[in-house]
Symmetry: D2
Subunit: 346 residues, 4 copies
C-alpha cells in the first residue's frame, strides 16, 4: 500500500482523483492539499465524500509532502508545479503533474502559449509525457510525469494510428473538439454560471487554445515531421465528456477494412481504448465515469478525407483516471487497478 | 460465486443492475433477459458495455432461468413477475422483483391502484418488502423479495424514525417528491422526449400516483395506525436522482438535538444512510451513482412542523442498488459488496 | 412615448426588462444603469442585444435619473432602492422597485428577515404592492410600486381565491416551490456554477427563506387573519420557471365544479392568469418567456386537502414582466402592452 | 390581412410557425393541419397556446386548403409536399415548403440522398430556394418556395461571402455543425428520449447527412464551380440552436480588416445577419427565439486557413422564421414583420 498526496484536491480533477483513489487497493490518500480550504473538512467541500473522507484540507507544502508520501499529484493551474518542484522532492517521491508545466518539450513554445516563464526548465527533458498507450515503457521508469491535457489525450489517441502509418497528411489535420463544462474548472466566473452555459454552445480559444502546441508535438512524433493543425474547442452544456471530431486528407486510397485493421493493431490489446464497430459513432455518455476512450472513423471517398472520432470522460481518461493509470505503471500495479468501473448510463 | 439472471435487462433499472453486478465479486450474470431485444447483443443496446459484456439478450422464460441461476431479478412492468412466478421457480431460485407486484400486502389495494388483477396472490404473504434498513432480518430468510419503489424508499427512510418514535402525527404527512427522468423508463413516449422534459418541471399523478398506498402501508407499520398522506411527484430535467421534501406536524415540543439523536439512533450504524450535519440540505448530486440515501430535517417552531428531506439515486438505492443489497443479505455476502462506489461529482 | 430608466440593467431581471421594453410601443429606455459595467456598451454584456441596443451603461445616480425619465425601475439587491429614494425623486418620476424594500408593511419584519436597517421607512406606507391582479386600482394611482417577489407572485395567485373564499384553512398552507437558476442572479458563486446545478436538485433556505413573510402578509390579507406557512424553495436545473405546489386543508366539503367556479370567477377575465382544464398540471415550459401564470388544483378527498399548483416564468411575471404590467397600469397603457409574446416551446 | 394554412402544425417547426404568425400583423392562421391530431384542440397538443388558439386540428387536404388561404406552409417530412402539390393549388395559393422536396435542383441527387422518388419534378425548376439574403428578388416573385434546411442556412450564410469573393478554396471547406435536439423532430424515438440526449454529445450521419448536397449546391453557386465538402452534424443537449464551425484554406493572403470588410459588405444592411465584433464567437444562446444569424471568422496564419462561425435558432431562422421572412417578401410586407422579437437570454 503506497501513500498518495494531492495538491489541488478541491478542484474538479482533484475531486475525481480522490474518488478513484478511494477505490484503489494499492494506494491510500495521505494528504488532501487545497490552498483555498486549508483546515476545512474535505467533505464539507465535496459533500459526496461525507462519512467517507474524514480528513481536513492541508496546504501545498510540496517539500513536506514529499517526505510523507510515495507519489504526489499536482492538480493545479499551470505554473504551480514548476514553481514548487526540486531535486529533493523528486528524490523522495514520484510526481504526476496534471498541469501543462512539463508537457511541452520546447520551453519557448510553452512560455509563448502560456505567457509564463518556466520556473523549472531543468526537469523538462526528464519528464515523461504520460499518454500511457503510447509511452508505456518510459512511464514505468519515470520520476516525473506530465499528465496529458484532456483535449490532447482524446485527439492524439483518435489520430495517432493513421498518422503513424502514413495514411493521412499531418498538415491537413483539423480537430473540432467539444467539452463538458467541468473542463473549465471550479472557479467562480460569470461565464461558467449555470444560466450562461445551459442551452448554449460556443467555440472558444479559436486558433489560440493552449492545447494546440501540445497536440502538434505529439502528432509530430507520430508523423516524423513538424505539424500544424487547426484545433477548435467548444463548450457544451453537460458536466463531463469530450468529443473529438477530426478531419484529414488521405495520402492513399484505403478501404474500411484496411483502416480498421490499423486501429485494431494499435488498440486491440489496450484495456482503455475501444475501437467501435462500423458506423457506430462515439458518444460521451457511453464512457461517463470510466477511463475508456472510444474511437472510430469514417472514410469519405467524395472528398478523399477521413473523419476520426473519439469520446472520453474529460475528468477520468482526460485527467484523474490517466493520472492513476500512470501511477499504476510507475509502481508496477495492474494497469487497470482502481479503474475497473463500468461506464454509468444514463 | 452465484449466478444471477435478469428479466428486463434493457430497461434503465436493468441496465443499472448489470453495471453493479459486473463489479460484484460474488455474483455473475448468466442471463440477460429482454423480450424486445432477443438475440441482439446486449452491448448493442447499451454501448457503454461494449467489450465488457459479450452476451446476447435472451427471453423471459422464468422456468428455464430458474434452473440455471441462483437468483432472478425481474426489472419489468407491474404484472409480469406475478404472471410468471410459481412454486417450482421459487424452490429453485430466489426472486427479487423490482416491480410493484408483491409490495402491497392488501391485494385489493394493489388491484385498485394498479387497475390489474393479481396473478399470484398466493405469494403476497410470503414476499418480504426489501427495505433493507428496516426489514433486514426477514430479508435474510426470504425466497421472494418485493424490492421497494423509488419514491417509497426515499420517503419511508426520511420519515420512519420520527413516526416510529411518535414525534409526528402520521396523518399530517405531506410528501413532495422530485425525480429525475430515468424513473419514467426507457419507452419511447413524446412526453419523455428531450425537448419536452428539458427546461421544464411539472407535477404528475397528483393525488393518484401508485406509490401512495405503498408509502402509506410502510408508514402505517411505523406509526402503528393507518395513515393517509398526500404524495405529489414531480418530473425534473435531470437523468438521475430523487429528492423528497416531507412535512408533518409535531406531536410534542422537541429540540434539534433530540431529533438528531433519533435519526442517529436509527441510522448511525447504517452503511447507506447518511444523516447530514445541521443545516446541510440533501442534494441528489451528492449521491449520484451510489447506494446512499442522505437524510436531514429542519424544525420550524413558527408552524410547529418538521421538514424531513431525503436524497438518493433512483436507479441505485431506488432500484438496482437496493436489489443488490437485498441479494447480499439473502446470500450472506457483505451487505455492501458491489456497492462501494463513491458518489460521482460533478 | 415615455422614457424609462433602469438601475441594475445588467442583472438577469434587468436584462429581461430591456428585452420587454424594446418591444413596448409606449416606452423607450433612456438609461441603462449598471454600477459594475459603467461606460461599457450594454451589448457587450448581453450580446443578444448586439446591433439592437447601442447605449453604454451608466451609473445609479437616481437623482439625475429622475430628471431624465418618467419611470425608474430598480432591479437591484435589497437595500439599494431604499438608500437612494427620496421625495424629490418621487415627485419627478414614478418608481417601480423590483427588490424587497417596500414589499413588507411591517418594518420590523423586514429588518428581521433581511437583517438590514430600512433606510426609507417613510415610504413603506405609501408603496403599493404591485400584484396587478389583486391591487390593480391602487397601482393605477401609485407613485411607488413594490414589485412582488417571484415566489410570492406564483404562490399568492395560486392560493388566493380559495383562501379569500374561506375554502381552506390558512394556517395549514404548505408551499413547496421549485425555481430555475436565473432566480439566483448573475453573480459569480461556486454554488451557481453549471457543474454544481446541473443534474442536481436541492431545497435551500428551509424555514428561513425571505419570501416567507411576504407570502404570509399577502395570504393574511386574503384570509382576514394572520397566517403562518411553511415555504420551501428548491433549485432546479433549468434557466427559467417557477412551479408552486401548495397544500391546504379544506374547511368544508367542496366539489371540483365549485372550486373551478371560484378560480374562474377570480381569473376568468384576467389576461395573464390561465386556469387550466381539469387534470392538466401546470408546467413551467408552457409559459416560458411570457407573462402568464398557469394555475390549477386537485382535490384529495382521502386526506381532505386540496393541492394548488401554479407555473410562471420567474423573470417575466415573477419580475420584469410584472414590472412592465405595473408600468402599464400606472401610465394608463393597455395592460398587456409589450407583453403579448406567446410562450416559446420547446 | 392574409390567411395562412399550415400542414404539419403540431411538429416543432409547425408550432414555431404558429408562435410567430400569432404575432404577425398582416397574417392570420386559418388552418392548423395535423394528420396525427385531427379534431383535437390545437392547444391540447401545445398547452402554451391555451386560451390563445381555440381552433381544432384539421387534416392535410391541400386542395381544399388552397381554396381557403393565401399561403400554405408545409412543415412535414420529405415527400409529402411533392405528393400533394399541383398546378391547381399553385394557381390559388402560394406555397412555402419547409421540407427538402424542392431544395435541390438536380432530381437525381435528391432521389439518391433521400432514397425517394420525386413525385412532382415538374415544379423543381420553378421553385425558388428561399435563402432570403441571397435570393431576395426571386423570392418576391415566386409561387413556390423551397425553405432552406437548418444546417444549410447557417452554413451557407457563414461561408458565402468568402467563397463568392474568391478568398477561399471551395473544395477545402469542412463544416462541423452542432444542433439542439428540436432539430430531430417530435416523434417518439428512444434515441431522442431525455435520458439518452442529456449529458451526451455525438456526431451522426457522418459523411452521409442529407443536408450535404443542399449545402454543396448553394456553395457551388457562390464559387462558380462544383464543390464537395465534409459536413458533420452533432446532437447537443439543448432544445434550440445551431452552431456552425467551418474551415477552409485561404487562396491568398488577407488581413482581418479585409475579410471583415467583405462580411460587412454582404451583411451590413441585412436585418437578420449580424457580423460580430473581432474575437467575439457566436453563441446559440444569444440568438434564441429570434430570426438572427450571428456570424464571425478567425484567420489562422499558422495553417493558412480561416475558421468561419455562425449561430442561429434552428426553429426560427432555420425553419419557421425564415418561412415567415419568405412570406413577407412574397406578399410585400415589411421583411421583419412578425420577426422583431429580441433574443431571449438566459
Amino acid at each position: 500500500m503506497i501513500k498518495a498526496g494531492i495538491i489541488g484536491a478541491t478542484g474538479y480533477a482533484g475531486g475525481e482523483l480522490v474518488r478513484l483513489l478511494l477505490n484503489h487497493k494499492e494506494a491510500e490518500i495521505a494528504w488532501y492539499g487545497s490552498r483555498s480550504y486549508v483546515d476545512q473538512r474535505y467533505s464539507s467541500v465535496y459533500q459526496n465524500m461525507f462519512q467517507i473522507v474524514d480528513a481536513k484540507c492541508l496546504d501545498d507544502n510540496m517539500e513536506q509532502l514529499a517526505k510523507e508520501v510515495d507519489v504526489i499529484f499536482t492538480a493545479t493551474p499551470q505554473g504551480l508545479c514548476a514553481s514548487l518542484i526540486n531535486e529533493g522532492i523528486l528524490s523522495q517521491a514520484k510526481v504526476i503533474d496534471l498541469s501543462a508545466d512539463f508537457r511541452i518539450k520546447d520551453r519557448k513554445t510553452y512560455e509563448q502559449w502560456y505567457n509564463l516563464e518556466h520556473k523549472a526548465p531543468q526537469f523538462i527533458e526528464e519528464a515523461v509525457y504520460g499518454l500511457c498507450e503510447i509511452n508505456r515503457e518510459d512511464i514505468k521508469k519515470a520520476r516525473l510525469i506530465a499528465n496529458p491535457g484532456c483535449y490532447p489525450t482524446c485527439s492524439t489517441l483518435s489520430i495517432y494510428p493513421l498518422l503513424k502509418e502514413g495514411i493521412i497528411d499531418g498538415n491537413t489535420v483539423i480537430i473540432d473538439a467539444k467539452s463538458g463544462t467541468s473542463g473549465a474548472g471550479r472557479s467562480a466566473k460569470v461565464a461558467n454560471l449555470y444560466c450562461e452555459v445551459n442551452e448554449n454552445i460556443k467555440a472558444y480559444g479559436v486558433a489560440t487554445h493552449r492545447h494546440t502546441p501540445e497536440i502538434e508535438e505529439q502528432l509530430g512524433y507520430a508523423a516524423g515531421y513538424p505539424i500544424h493543425i487547426n484545433f477548435t474547442p467548444h463548450l457544451v452544456p453537460m458536466n463531463r465528456g469530450i468529443l473529438v471530431t477530426a478531419y484529414a486528407s488521405l495520402k492513399k486510397e484505403v478501404t474500411y477494412e484496411e483502416v480498421k485493421a490499423i486501429y485494431d493493431a494499435y488498440y486491440g490489446k489496450e484495456q482503455f481504448v475501444r475501437v467501435l464497430d462500423k458506423d457506430v459513432c462515439p458518444e460521451t455518455k457511453w464512457v461517463e465515469g470510466s477511463n475508456y476512450v472510444d474511437v472510430n472513423f469514417k472514410l469519405d471517398p467524395r472528398t478523399n478525407r477521413v473523419i476520426m472520432m473519439g469520446a472520453m470522460d474529460n475528468l477520468v481518461k482526460g485527467a484523474a483516471g490517466q493520472a492513476v493509470q500512470n501511477m499504476n505503471l510507475m509502481f508496477g500495479f495492474a494497469e487497470n487497478e482502481g479503474l475497473q468501473g463500468v461506464p454509468m448510463f444514463p
